[in-house]
Symmetry: C2
Subunit: 502 residues, 2 copies
């Protein structure tokens, strides 16, 4: 039976790439696109599914062997990365998928990107791969120039400093640490030394040295899974069960109705309710709030959006309550929303105090500007490696690729095209596409569907690797090289799958 | 004046490498060494200090520029890694130092090691550098073989599984998470589902979902600086001040007298006292202890040693109290103590439950065996990258280099030679060398000294980059390619510096 499904699906898909265009789209495709030349030379024209079952026989055998030494229960696909190219991911059996999940939103400019390959083979990058510096103590002579030409060349407006890290979790946690040290510095007064009571109690994990302060986050937020970041994560019980957590507060995140344009009044009321709750909690929570952290789109928690009005409100509330405002751009950053940083959509009254990043940056860290966010003494924000220059050089190459190919603009335009196509299709399959969201947010698009996990598997047979978020959402996270032609393939695969489901 | 110091020092050092031998050593050098052939082709014969001030003029200028965007207050040396080779680290002004600190103990087989350079240029490694997989969902087809031929090929005796991570902090924190999930699994009973109360309370950071359980550590321990690991770190107030911490217990670590062989009875009594305190705390602490974590040598906290008897006691106490025993080998692992893993010195009654690693492995993670340490459901121990195959491939090359050059044995032998030399010198400079320790522990050697931080700077003028730990210790952390000739240079530099101080 699976075999029959497969044959139909593949046939439908390959027919579709030639003939299918999603029903009426309200603009002229060819005029709209800044560039229609393909970004990736030699990329497949369409997905190609060769095995009747997914995973195929080679994968099944290899997964079994791998499971002896590595937990494979979350395994989605065993991949052949050497054979993957551009937007296409190849599995162990040689099936080739259009990849709109991109390693959980972390591949920026395509598999086997030649510019990235060149970058990691540069003398400079090889040097830092084999001679990894302890950056805090022994930074390299070109560290300033590396930072300025990479991470800092795309710093969010108004921010000009960076603390580098290794992944999203430690980027967030080091930002939280900076927030706590800042808050106590302000409370203590500039130049004040630590008291003997603080020094002694800190060694006992007790106040006043280790104060009972907090980082505030939102319902359904995801900020990582180490102990501090997990205390701000509120996505799902499975992420949190059995792990001790700090007594930190969280407010409601707006539960908006889509399409946003049709529910403006009630959505505004909902955002006001959440803003009021946020400020009330900041003013009253028993463990003083040093910082508020928020994602521009709650990405693991189900692709929950809010409007610029809400985020402007958060900026203003935090400013007037002396709470730092941290924007977690680990998943939204580096172009996917049609701006380099998603919070650039907001027009804030002042920049966020810190912005964290990772994933598509292939490095990690937090941006800031306020000099008081450098702790009052050295060695307070410190660890052995403090980042990785080879990964920062990779980010530099990614930025070069993004700029030379105008990929943020591509993502904005392709996202609009894709969103329009989805909106049209949604009219035909209203049971399959609920709460379509992400309009004007590049390719950062999602919707809710029934039997979501089964749907994600069905899409594999249609040649598409696609991910979910939250309990019911399908999330699109294509790379920045995702173009109109890829959007067409995706739309066709979605329609063929929905047709079978309906 | 500094210039005069410099000229004397450098002259003394270069004279010394030719003529100086540390006073009577109780064994035959030439017979003792498995290999006296140099490991590094083209390595300098001796340090070379060219500037009258350290840092020199080039460094001073560059550090100032770097400080505009990156906190440089912990900066020890601005380094030219391309010009560094083997045991020698070059700074921005071209000064070349014998490096016995090795990027805070994290460089295993020398700067610009040709085998490592070859490894990172392999097709396989380049592939994973530019196509970084989300390992939990999308592992590569060769992930099993990569793990088996690298990390698992040097697994500590009795351990055969690995969870990979990015650095020491997250290696420890994921091990702690595994311990908490294990403990609750045992308490719940196999096959039991999470209760509704657990699920709901977990989203509020409250018990029973987020239980008030603990990880126990020791006074002066260092296990990292993220929120969970920092709660087990008890090294110095500056590491902990202003950061909220969990209410977790810590016991006294033995405060031994050196040399160990001359204080056996009182040291045994001290270790018994600490063991009793440990067991008492485990039985009585208000937040139940899921795991005990310990370093084989407390490395950041001052190079505090204990005897195998103490660690055997910890293994037995944890076993009989159903507490997991985690050995943190982040700094001690990968050969530096003359065994691949330092805990192999102990002859435990059963292997540790988990062993964490990073630094010289250039990758990170924790080893384990018990299948119940894989959480009962998928996605409980998970993050986007879950390690880094390119770094694991680098570890593979490091292991190959260690095996082909017999570097663990080299370190054992060189360590013995160095320790004997230091013991003799200590008799001449008793004020400079107190509590010499690390006998039989490879090159993992330390001592206490007066005005330690000033001593570390003075050693730079003698051409040696050397580190401290705790408040008063000098710690030696040379690479595994540190040979007798390097030990001689180090001993000479130490003596010339001590002579000036005395």
């Amino acid at each position: 039976m699976a075999s029959a499904i497969l044959r139909n699906t593949v046939r439908a898909a390959s027919r579709a790439t030639r003939s299918f265009r999603p029903a009426p789209i309200a603009f002229n495709n060819t005029r709209m696109f800044a560039s229609v030349a393909p970004f990736v030379k030699g990329e497949p024209e369409a997905p190609s599914i060769k095995t009747s079952e997914i995973p195929g026989p080679v994968a099944v055998e290899k997964i079994k062997a791998l499971d002896e030494i590595f937990d494979t229960r979350a395994l989605n696909m065993l991949c052949d990365y050497e054979k993957s190219l551009g937007n296409y991911l190849t599995d162990a059996d040689g099936n080739s998928y259009l990849d709109v999940y991109a390693q959980i939103a972390s591949i920026p400019v395509g598999y086997n990107n030649p510019h990235l390959l060149e970058a990691v083979q540069s003398k400079q990058c090889l040097n830092y791969l084999i001679n990894r510096p302890a950056l805090g103590n022994f930074p390299p002579i070109d560290w300033e120039s590396i930072l300025r030409t990479s991470v800092l060349s795309v710093a969010p407006p108004g921010l000009n400093q960076v603390f580098t890290a290794l992944a999203g979790s430690d980027a967030n946690e080091t930002a939280y640490k900076a927030a706590f040290m800042y808050r106590r510095r302000i409370e203590r007064g500039e130049g004040a030394e630590f008291t003997e009571a603080e020094m002694q109690s800190s060694m006992l994990n007790e106040a006043p040295g280790c104060p009972q302060m907090s980082i505030m986050s939102f319902k359904k937020a995801f900020h990582g899974r180490l102990f501090g970041s997990l205390s701000t994560t509120r996505s799902k019980p499975i992420h949190k069960l059995d792990i001790p957590a700090f007594d930190w507060p969280h407010a409601s995140f707006p539960n908006l109705k889509y399409p946003l344009s049709e529910h403006e009044a009630e959505n505004r009321a909902e955002e006001d309710r959440c803003l009021q709750e946020t400020e009330h909690l900041i003013k009253t929570f028993h463990n003083p709030v040093a910082a508020l952290v928020v994602e521009p789109v709650q990405s693991e928690g189900g692709d929950n959006h809010a409007t610029p009005y809400f985020f402007q409100g958060l900026r203003d509330i935090t400013a007037r309550n002396n709470v730092l405002f941290i924007v977690d751009e680990v998943q939204t950053g580096v172009g996917a929303t049609g701006k380099f940083w998603a919070h650039e959509h907001w027009n804030l009254s002042s920049p966020p105090d810190m912005v964290t990043f990772s994933k598509k940056a292939q490095s990690a860290g937090y941006y800031y500007t306020n000099p008081l966010l450098r702790p009052n003494k050295p060695y307070r924000q410190f660890n052995t490696w403090m980042g990785d220059p080879s990964r920062v050089l990779l980010f530099k190459a990614i930025i070069e690729e993004i700029k030379s190919k105008n990929l943020v603009e591509n993502t904005r335009q392709t996202g609009d095209y894709l969103f329009n196509g989805l909106r049209e299709l949604a009219k035909k399959y209203p049971e399959q596409v609920k709460n379509l969201r992400g309009e004007g947010q590049g390719t950062f698009i999602a919707w809710d569907t029934v039997n979501r996990d089964s749907f994600l598997k069905e899409m594999k047979y249609a040649g598409v690797n696609i991910g979910g978020s939250g309990e019911t959402a399908v999330r699109l996270r294509p790379m920045l090289i995702f173009q109109q032609k890829h959007a067409d393939i995706l739309l066709n695969a979605l329609e063929s799958t929905w047709k079978k489901r309906s």
